[in-house]
């Protein structure tokens, strides 16, 4: 059964996180954990910098030399004899470029601020951060540890930063991983958050989807561009993560998804019990939630099929075992196993079964997902609100995140909960995946 999709491109607000220029999603941005940090210095300007046009001159010079700036503080004198003040964070493409730029800015009176080291406090107990702990974002973050700046890894939101002074390491650490006595960053000194770089290149699909006119764009062009991005990620050895809900199976989109897996466009699958259960139900009985996907008609006692499917896999000992024994011969999970695509299935209270592969401890499931997301460059989330938000919380802002759902609220929720980089497409999943695979087939 094919659903005639009602297509629209969802417009997402250009959200701001923290101070500074609004981060824009840049599809061709740096790869998380692989990108080199942009060196920066903080300068201060004082004097009659407005009347003398020193401030605009300094800002112009930063831009002209390929740098970027963020004005941290500005005070403009009220009376004609009052001096003004500006504190500016200057970032340049390389350390040498920064040195040269700062040298030039010094001529115009810029004073370079001494970098302040972070403040640390010991965790009072296992699983408890010290008072005043710094809460991380999903953006690239650096901490100044004495005379050197180190990157916090991974770029993980809603964590604290644990610092190992001897090893010169800073780690974004969840509650459950913090142990009594670990040194945790408190306050805001010595922390530098690098907003996503504004793209100066031609606006790509994600640039214009974030623009106000995106609703006017033809969907085919959007999907064609996405297909190109997937191909680029695969060819450049990026890692593509798919987060999927059971709607993929219900809407009959599984066959398209299986093609993506076979063609190497999926490296990692995160889902819940339901996707796997209904996929296996379909593989074993031809139904999803008791509905024959070929005809759209109800099977006799079809609502029991998913329970029988779960039982069969439980009997086999797990999905991989079911594939090995020849019980499971088709479907998404089968294709994943056959193509070596790693998966994490995370459970929830309402799950039937669950399948033996499902991790029912939420913390353990989160740990398993975190252990696998290193190197992910693209995340495509389809037809699942809770898994999308959960995975969104684990991803660095540099991961290009696409959310496809028939419900516009899903995308809005995802971005509201911190994954501001996500862009959304409001559509049925089946026509979306069909068109995406058609595009990919054309130039795979």
């Amino acid at each position: 059964m094919r659903t005639s999709g009602n297509w629209a491109v969802e417009i997402l607000p250009d959200k701001r996180v923290g101070a500074g220029p609004a981060p824009r999603f840049n599809w061709r941005g740096s790869v998380p954990w692989l990108g080199s940090p942009m060196p920066s210095e903080t300068i201060e300007l004082r004097g009659h910098i407005i009347d003398s046009l020193i401030l605009p001159k300094v800002l112009d010079q930063i831009i002209a030399r390929g740098g970027t700036f963020k004005i941290g503080e500005i005070k403009i004198g009220e009376n004609r004899t009052d001096q003004s003040f500006a504190r500016i964070e200057v970032t340049a493409p390389s350390a040498d470029a920064l040195d040269e730029l700062i040298l030039r800015l010094r001529q115009h009176g810029a004073e370079v601020m001494e970098k302040r080291s972070i403040q640390l406090a010991a965790s009072p107990a296992d699983g408890v951060y010290p008072q005043g702990f710094y809460v991380t974002t999903n953006q690239q973050t650096f901490v100044q540890l004495e005379d050197r700046e180190i990157e916090v890894e991974p770029a993980l939101m809603d964590s604290a930063i644990v610092v190992d002074r001897a090893a010169k390491k800073a780690t974004a650490t969840k509650f459950y991983s913090v142990k009594k006595g670990m040194e945790v960053v408190v306050g805001h000194h010595g922390i530098r958050v690098v907003p996503l770089q504004r793209s100066t290149a031609r606006a790509d699909v994600f640039e214009f989807m974030a623009s106000n006119v995106s609703i006017e764009k033809p969907k085919t062009a959007v999907i064609r561009e996405m297909a190109r991005e997937f191909k680029r990620a695969r060819d450049e050895k990026g890692k593509i993560l798919v987060v999927a809900g059971p709607a993929i199976v219900h809407t009959g989109a599984a066959e398209h998804f299986e093609k993506l897996i076979k063609w190497g466009f999926v490296n990692l699958l995160f889902a819940g019990n339901a996707l796997a259960a209904h996929d296996i139900e379909n593989a074993l009985f031809g139904t999803s939630l008791g509905v024959y996907l070929e005809e759209g008609s109800l099977a006799d006692e079809g609502t029991q099929n998913h329970m029988r499917a779960i039982n069969a896999v439980r009997g086999a000992g797990g999905i991989r075992q079911a594939v090995a024994s020849g019980l499971l011969k088709s479907g998404i999970m089968y294709t994943c196993v056959q193509n070596g695509v790693d998966f994490v299935l995370a459970g929830s209270i309402r799950d039937d079964g669950p399948l033996p592969d499902v991790i029912t401890d939420a913390v353990e499931a989160q740990k398993a997902m975190r252990a696998k997301i290193g190197g992910v460059t693209i995340a495509m989330m389809m037809g699942t609100m809770l898994h999308s938000i959960a995975v969104g919380n684990l991803l660095p802002a540099t991961v290009k995140t696409l959310c496809v759902d028939i419900n516009p609220g899903v995308v809005t929720k995802l971005t509201d909960r911190g994954s501001f980089q996500a862009v959304g497409l409001v559509t049925d999943i089946e026509p979306f995946l069909r068109e995406l695979t058609d595009c990919m087939e054309a130039n795979r």
Binding site: G47, H48, D51, S52, L53, K57, T81, Q83, Q107, E111
Partner: protein
Amino acid sequence: MRKLLLCPPDYYGIEYEINPWMSRARGADTPLVQAQWRGLHEKLLSLGCDVHLVPPKPKLPDMVFTANAGLTVGKKFIPSNFRHKERAAEAPLFADWMEKDGYEIVWLPEDQFFEGEGDALFVGDTLFCGYKFRTDVSAHRAVADILQCLVISVELVDPRFYHIDTCFCPLTDGGAVWFPAAFDEYGQRTIRDHVPNLIDVVEEEAAHFSCNAVVLDQEIVLPEGAPILMKSLGERGYRCHPLPMSEFLKAGGACKCLTMFLPQRESASSF
């Protein structure tokens, strides 16, 4: 009556090279030096100025350029911190003289280069300061703190015009004579924004240091070689007094460099 400070050129000569005008191969003609300086001294006296002389010192050939000694406002004297070590010894001599003359001496921090009236000229109650070649922009800030006035900092970009008084000359009517190309585009915009009635000097005349003029109400003492500028000034009602300055041009100086106002302005505020 304007009170001025000059220094006789007894030890003047081209003994080092610290700007593009100076060449030890092209020394000054001593009798001509004396004659040109006397010409200036007499002209200023004849225009009714109260001219004081600071005693010259051997081995300080540029002491003759008194405008670079510091900046005088009211009874405050801010001595220069010369960028080149060749001139550094001038500063305490001028400070001593000024202190004896009753001025309060306010030193700038040692690490901020500042070359006095050479790089600091008032237009009304706004102090225009040049920076880069000789004076640091950080010194402008310190001067603004001391004088509590608006200081406009402008970047100099042509090494021939290394002090602001070589390319910018405020006039009594609130306007100024200037050579725009000596400033960067921000400086040019700033000056145009703040100074009405600007008179542009053509490059050939600017190269004769025409902007390096002593303005005494309607009388302007300037180096000869600026017929176009003199015509413009004449049309504005100024009387020009051109003087031969060839021997001082060899060191990158002329009438204004040889003259310091005591004070340049009675008060930094408009009251």
